[in-house]
Symmetry: C2
Subunit: 347 residues, 2 copies
C-alpha cells in the first residue's frame, strides 16, 4: 500500500554485520550527561555516579543461531543468558540483572517454553544474576530469544576495546575452537540421523567440545581472578565471533597493531585429531571458530609476572604501534589477519 | 535427535499470555540486595542507592504486532521505542537509555533497516533518550524488533501496580480506542487493495486514529505534569493491551475492587461515527482496543482538585475494598469486567 520512498536496495551481505551496524548508528548522537559510552563496545555504559551500569542485548534466532534438532531447550535457555553475561564481563564488570524476551510460534507447547526458562533460571543461579523482567509473545514462525543483561562496573576497572597500547601483551582465557568443532560433530550426526532415523547419534568421546557448543560458560571466574591478581586489562572483548574477528576489533578500536603467534593459540588437544578427521586446519578453527565466550584482553607488560603461571590464561602475542593484525606462523611467516564478515551458523 | 523428557504438550492458548508468564517466572527467586522489584510490573526496578533504575523489554514481531503492508518502516522504528518508554513512564520515571535488537531476513535491504533506525533515532530525539547498544542479526523469516528501555525513578515517586487503596480515584490520560479503530481502517483498506491493487487507499479524514495506530506517543508529558502538580499516583500502568485488561491488572496487584463508569471512558468523537460504520460498540472499543499507550493510574481523593480541570486527564471511576472490576453502565447496571486473554493483532 505504501511504497518506500527509498528506491535503493543494498543487500545486507554487501556490508556485513559490522558494516551494517556502523551505518545504522552513525546518526546516533548521545545527549544525556550520564551516557558514558554508547555503541561500539561489548556493552553500553551508564554513569551512576560512583560506578557504571553496563547494558547489552543479544538475540538468538532459530535457524540462525541454533538448531533445535540437536540443541536441547534447557541448554538453549542457559546459553542465551551466558552470551549476554559474557558481554558484561568483557567490560570488566559484574553481571547482575537480565530481562528476557521470547517470541514463540504455536508449534511450541507451554512445556517447551518452560524448559527454556529452566535453563535461564539455572544460568541466573549459577552466575548470581536476577531475572527482573521480560516479554513473551507469539511469533509467526520459530523461536527467538532476546536477552538484555546489565551489570555493575567500577569506574576504575571499566575496560573498553580501545585502551591497548604499545608493548601490551595479548592474552586469551581458556581455549578456542572447541565450540565450532562441537557444532561440526552435531551437524555430522544430524545428517546421519536424517539419512537413517534409526541410527543413534555417535557423540561419545566428544563431551568437551559438545559442552563448549551446547552449554558454554561465561568467564566470570577470569574477571574475579584478574581482580584478585590486581591486573587491570588495557582493553578487552569476549570471543563470540572468533578470535581473529575479535583481535581485529581490539586493533581497530585501540588504533594499534596486534600480532599473535600461531603456536601460542590455545587449542584443546582433542581438537587436533578431530580436525584431521574433518580435513580442517587447526589454526583456522582456532582463529575463526566462534562461540567460545572466552575473554581476549591486553595487559601492560609489567603485569606479565602476575598472570604467566596461570593455566587459564595464555599470552598469545603483543601490541605495537601501527594498524591491523598479523599472525606469526610456526615457520615465522607474517600473515595478515582478515575479518570474516557476516558469519552465522546455518541451522 | 534428542527427545524431550517432558511428554506433556499444553497449548499456549490454554494459559493465555499472562497465565504463561505467571507459570514461567514462578521459579524466579531474587538473590541480589539491589533487586528492588522483579517481574509483574511495567518494569523491573534496580536499587542504585539514591534512585531506582527501571528496566523493561518489549518485542515487536512481524505478522503478530505489525503488518508491513501498511506500517511504514520508519513508523515501526518509532513505535517500537515508544512502547518501551511507555513502560518506564508507567513506573513514574524518566526514560533515559535504550538498546535495540533487530532480527531481519535477507528479503530486507540495508535501506529498509536504515528506515527502521531513522524512526528509532527520531523517537530518541523526541523523548531525550540515548541509544547505547544493540544487536543486528539474520532471521530465517520476517522482521523482529526487541527493545529494552531503562530510566531513572526517584525512590519517593516510584509507582507500582499494587498501591491503589480504598476511595482512590481511577484516572486515565488522553483517550482510548483510537489505535484500535485506526487498525480497523488500515485492515479494511488492505482488503480493498488486495482485491483491487489499482485502488488508492481511502485514509482521508481518519488522520487522528491512523496516527494513534501508526505513530503513537508515550505520555512523558503526563509524568511531567503529575510532577508539576505534585500528584503522586498510588498505582499506575500503561494502556497497551486495552483499558479493561489494565484495570484488572491494577485491581489484582492492589487487591482492591475497581469500578469505572461507562460514560466517563474518554473516547474521541470521531470514533462514534466510525463504530457505527463498522458495527462496533463504542464502549467495547474503548475497553478492549489496545495500543493506546495512555497512562491509567489511581490517586488519593485529596488530589482530585489538582487534576480535575486538566483536559488531558479523565477521572473514570473509584477504588474500593474487594476484588475484581466493574463497569457501571449508562443505565446504572453493574457489569463485571473480564480479561481478554492472549490477544494479538493478526497481520
Amino acid at each position: 500500500m505504501f511504497d518506500s520512498k527509498n528506491p535503493q536496495r543494498t543487500p545486507i551481505s554487501e556490508l556485513g554485520e559490522f558494516g551494517l551496524i556502523d551505518r545504522l548508528v552513525k546518526n546516533a548522537k548521545s545527549k544525556l550527561p550520564n551516557t558514558a559510552f554508547a555503541m561500539g563496545d561489548d556493552a553500553g555504559l551508564i554513569d551512576q555516579g560512583e560506578y557504571f551500569t553496563a547494558i547489552t542485548t543479544d538475540l538468538l534466532v532459530e535457524g540462525v543461531h541454533f538448531d533445535l534438532s540437536y540443541m536441547p531447550l534447557k541448554h538453549l535457555g542457559y546459553k542465551s543468558v551466558i552470551v549476554n553475561l559474557s558481554d558484561v564481563y568483557a567490560m570488566n564488570g559484574t553481571a547482575e540483572h537480565i530481562t528476557v524476551g521470547i517470541a514463540v510460534s504455536n508449534r511450541f507447547p507451554v512445556e517447551a517454553i518452560e524448559e527454556v526458562y529452566e535453563g535461564i533460571h539455572l544460568a541466573c543461579e549459577h552466575y548470581n544474576v536476577d531475572l527482573i523482567g521480560g516479554d513473551t509473545t507469539a511469533s509467526s514462525s520459530g523461536l527467538m530469544i532476546s536477552i538484555t543483561a546489565t551489570g555493575r562496573v567500577r569506574k576504575e576497572n571499566a575496560t573498553m576495546r580501545s585502551g591497548a597500547k604499545d608493548n601490551d601483551l595479548i592474552v586469551v582465557s581458556g581455549d578456542v575452537g572447541g565450540a565450532y568443532m562441537g557444532l561440526q560433530i552435531l551437524e555430522r550426526e544430524k545428517q546421519v540421523f536424517i539419512e537413517n532415523p534409526d541410527m543413534q547419534p555417535e557423540l561419545g568421546g566428544h563431551e568437551y567440545i559438545l559442552e563448549r557448543q551446547l552449554k558454554p560458560e561465561a568467564r566470570k571466574d577470569i574477571i574475579d581472578l584478574l581482580h584478585k591478581l590486581e591486573v587491570q586489562p588495557t582493553s578487552m572483548i569476549d570471543v563470540s565471533d572468533g578470535l581473529s574477528s575479535e583481535i581485529l576489533h581490539l586493533s581497530k578500536a585501540s588504533s594499534h597493531q596486534f600480532n599473535i603467534y600461531e603456536n601460542k593459540i590455545p587449542i584443546d588437544p582433542s581438537i587436533y585429531a578431530l580436525c584431521e578427521e574433518f580435513n580442517l586446519n587447526t589454526t583456522t578453527v582456532g582463529l575463526n571458530g566462534g562461540e567460545d565466550y572466552e575473554l581476549l584482553f591486553t595487559i601492560g607488560i609489567e603485569d606479565h609476572d602476575k598472570i604467566k603461571a596461570n593455566p587459564n590464561l595464555s599470552v598469545i602475542g603483543y601490541v605495537k604501534e601501527g594498524s591491523g593484525a598479523n599472525l606469526i606462523t610456526r615457520d615465522d611467516k607474517v600473515v595478515e589477519l582478515k575479518a570474516q564478515g557476516f558469519k552465522h551458523h546455518e541451522g
